[in-house]
Symmetry: C2
Subunit: 322 residues, 2 copies
C-alpha cells in the first residue's frame, strides 16, 4: 500500500485499487451490470446497476475483506482476524479467512438480522455478541485482540478494506466507461470512498455522489461541515448504514465526492420495492438508498447515465417493509 | 417455417429456432446465466440459471411473441393481433405489437395477477376480461377474430411461438455447452418443447426434463399415457402453469423429452424462497417449479451440471407465499 495519493496526500491511491483487484481476483465475482427499460422510463435517466448483491456472501464487503486478509503476512495471518460488524462484513471476513485457511472472530450486535448471523455461523466464524453501540463493539474487539493477537480488520476504517471496496467502481467503469455519475450508499463510508478514488482517477469529471438515510445522516453533516459528526441514534430500515462514518472516509470524501443526498425512510421502501418489481433482483434496504435519491431529488444528480452500486441482497424475507 | 423436422416429422425444426433467434434478436435481451455456490452446496449439483425473469416484460414469453408477430406478412399484421393469456404472453404480445407498430387485443381471465393486468395496460393492449376457463378464453378470442380480422397468436400452440421460446435454450447452450441436463416448467408446453428441439439438436445426450405442479399435472399424465389428458381444476400457486398442455407440445414431448417430474405446492414455495434468498433474484412461482424438483427428486435428474430455465419474475409483492 503506497503511503500517499499522488495528488492530495490521501492514504489510498488508485494504484492500491488496481493491486487490490489483482489480489482478490481469484476470490470474488466480477458481478454483472443490469439495466431496465422500465426503470429508465420511470426515472427519466439511463440507469446502470452494478449488482454486488450477486457477490459472494451477498454483498460488496467480500472485496475489502479479501484484500485485507490476503495482504497480511504469514506470521500475522496465523493468529487469525477479528472484526465488529452488523453483518455483511462479518460474513465477508469469515469467507476470506476460510479462503486463506485462518480463523475469524466476529463481534456482532445482538440485534443483527438473523440471515446475517446465520451466514457467519455457516462460514465457521466465532461470534461474540455485544450491545448495539459502537463503544460496545470496539471494546469487544479490543478484548479479543489482547487475548489472541488476532489482526483487526475494521469494516471500513482500513486502507486495505477501502481499496478492496474500490474495485467495485473499477469494474463498473471498465464495463460502462460512459457513466456521467456514480451513486453509492454511505454507512461507514468505505464503499463510496474507495469507489470515489478510482472513479475520479479514471474519469476526472464523473459526478460522484453518496446517499444516506436522513435518519442516519452523519456523513452528510460531516461532509458539509468538514468535521466529523455523529448520529445519536440511527433508526433507519437501512440496517447496513447505521454505523458511524470513518475518519479515513471523511478525508477522502472532502477531496473526492461531489455531493451527498439524504433520503427519507418512505422513499427507501418505495425504491426497494421498485427495484424488486422492475429489475427482478432482491436487494437489501441499504441498496435501495441510492435509488431513493432519484425519486424526489433527481435534479441534484448531474448527468443522464447514472451508475448505481447495489451494495447487497441479504434481507429477511419474513420482515419485508410492505 | 419449414414443414417438418428432419428426423421425426415435427412441425418445428432446429433451423426454425435459428431463424427465430435472428428475427427476434433486435427486440429481446440475451439474458444472463447466474450461479450460486450456496445453492450448489444445498442441492449437491452444479446449477446454472438462465434468467428470463430479466427478459423484456419479465418473462421468456417476449421471445415467442416477437417471433410470431414479426413473421406475419404486412397485410395480416395491419389487422392487429389477438390472444388469450393469463398474463405474461399478453404483455409480451403487446410489446411485440408496439415494436411492429400494430394493435394487440387481449382476452384475460378476470382473476389474473394485478401486476400482469397493469403490464398489459401500460403497453397499450386492449383487454377483454373473461371467466377463468379455457372455453371462455377461446370464445373471447374467436369473437374478436371474427369482428376485426386480427391474427391469433396462441400463447403456446403455435409453431412460431414455440420456435421463439426455443431461443432460450439456444442461448443457454451457447453459453453453457457442458450442461448435462436442462429443466423447464410446463404450462402449455411451448417453452419446454422449443427448448427440447434445439437442445437435443445441439447435444444429443442432454437430459431434457419438464417439471410441473402435481396439482396441474396434465402434461405428466399426457406424456406418460401418450394421449392428451386435461386438468379438471388447476389449483396451484404457479399461476403461469395452470393452462392446458398444447397438442403441438405433446407431439414434441413424446419425441424429445426424457422425463416429467411433478412437484408439491410446499416444495414450490420452499424452492421459490431459496432462490430469492440465495440467488438474490425475484422469480414468480412458476419459475420455482423446476428448482422444486431438486428438493426431493434430485435422483430423477441425470447429470451434475443442471441448467434451469427461470421463466419469469412477475410476482405480486403483496401476496408472497410466506
Amino acid at each position: 500500500m503506497s503511503a500517499e495519493n499522488s495528488k492530495v496526500g490521501l492514504p489510498i491511491s488508485p494504484d492500491d485499487i488496481y493491486k487490490a483487484a489483482k489480489r482478490i481476483g481469484p476470490y470474488v465475482h466480477r458481478t454483472p451490470v443490469l439495466t431496465s427499460a422500465r426503470l429508465n422510463e420511470i426515472f427519466g435517466a439511463e440507469l446502470f446497476f452494478k449488482c454486488e448483491n450477486f457477490q459472494h456472501i451477498g454483498a460488496f464487503k467480500a472485496r475489502g475483506a479479501h484484500n485485507a486478509v490476503f495482504a497480511l503476512n504469514d506470521a500475522d495471518a496465523s493468529k487469525g482476524v477479528v472484526a465488529h460488524s452488523s453483518g455483511n462484513h462479518a460474513a465477508a471476513l469469515c469467507l476470506a479467512a476460510v479462503n486463506r485457511g485462518i480463523s475469524a472472530k466476529i463481534v456482532m450486535p445482538h440485534n443483527s438480522a438473523r440471515v446475517k448471523i446465520d451466514a457467519v455461523k455457516r462460514l465457521g466464524g466465532e461470534i461474540n455478541f455485544c450491545e448495539p453501540s459502537i463503544s460496545a463493539r470496539e471494546a469487544g474487539v479490543e478484548d479479543i485482540m489482547a487475548r489472541t493477537g488476532a489482526a483487526l480488520v475494521h469494516p471500513y476504517n482500513d486502507a486495505h478494506v477501502i481499496a478492496g471496496q474500490g474495485t467495485t467502481a473499477l469494474e463498473f467503469l471498465e464495463e460502462c466507461p460512459d457513466l456521467d455519475a456514480l451513486l453509492a450508499p454511505i454507512g461507514g463510508g468505505g464503499l463510496l470512498s474507495g469507489c470515489a478514488i478510482i472513479a475520479k482517477a479514471l474519469k476526472e469529471n464523473i459526478f460522484v455522489c453518496g446517499v444516506e438515510p436522513l435518519h442516519a445522516n452523519d456523513a452528510f453533516r460531516s461532509w458539509k461541515s468538514g468535521t466529523m459528526q455523529t448520529n445519536t441514534n440511527a433508526e433507519t430500515i437501512a440496517d447496513g448504514l447505521r454505523g458511524q462514518l470513518g475518519d479515513m472516509a471523511l478525508d477522502i470524501f472532502l477531496e473526492k465526492i461531489d455531493h451527498v443526498i439524504e433520503v427519507s425512510e418512505e422513499d427507501i421502501v418505495q425504491a426497494m420495492r421498485l427495484v424488486w418489481s422492475e429489475l427482478k433482483i432482491v436487494i437489501e434496504p441499504s441498496s435501495a438508498v441510492p435509488v431513493a435519491s432519484l425519486l424526489k431529488q433527481r435534479a441534484c444528480i448531474s448527468g443522464d447515465k447514472i451508475g448505481i452500486v447495489v451494495s447487497g441482497g441479504n434481507v429477511d424475507l419474513d420482515a419485508l417493509p410492505w
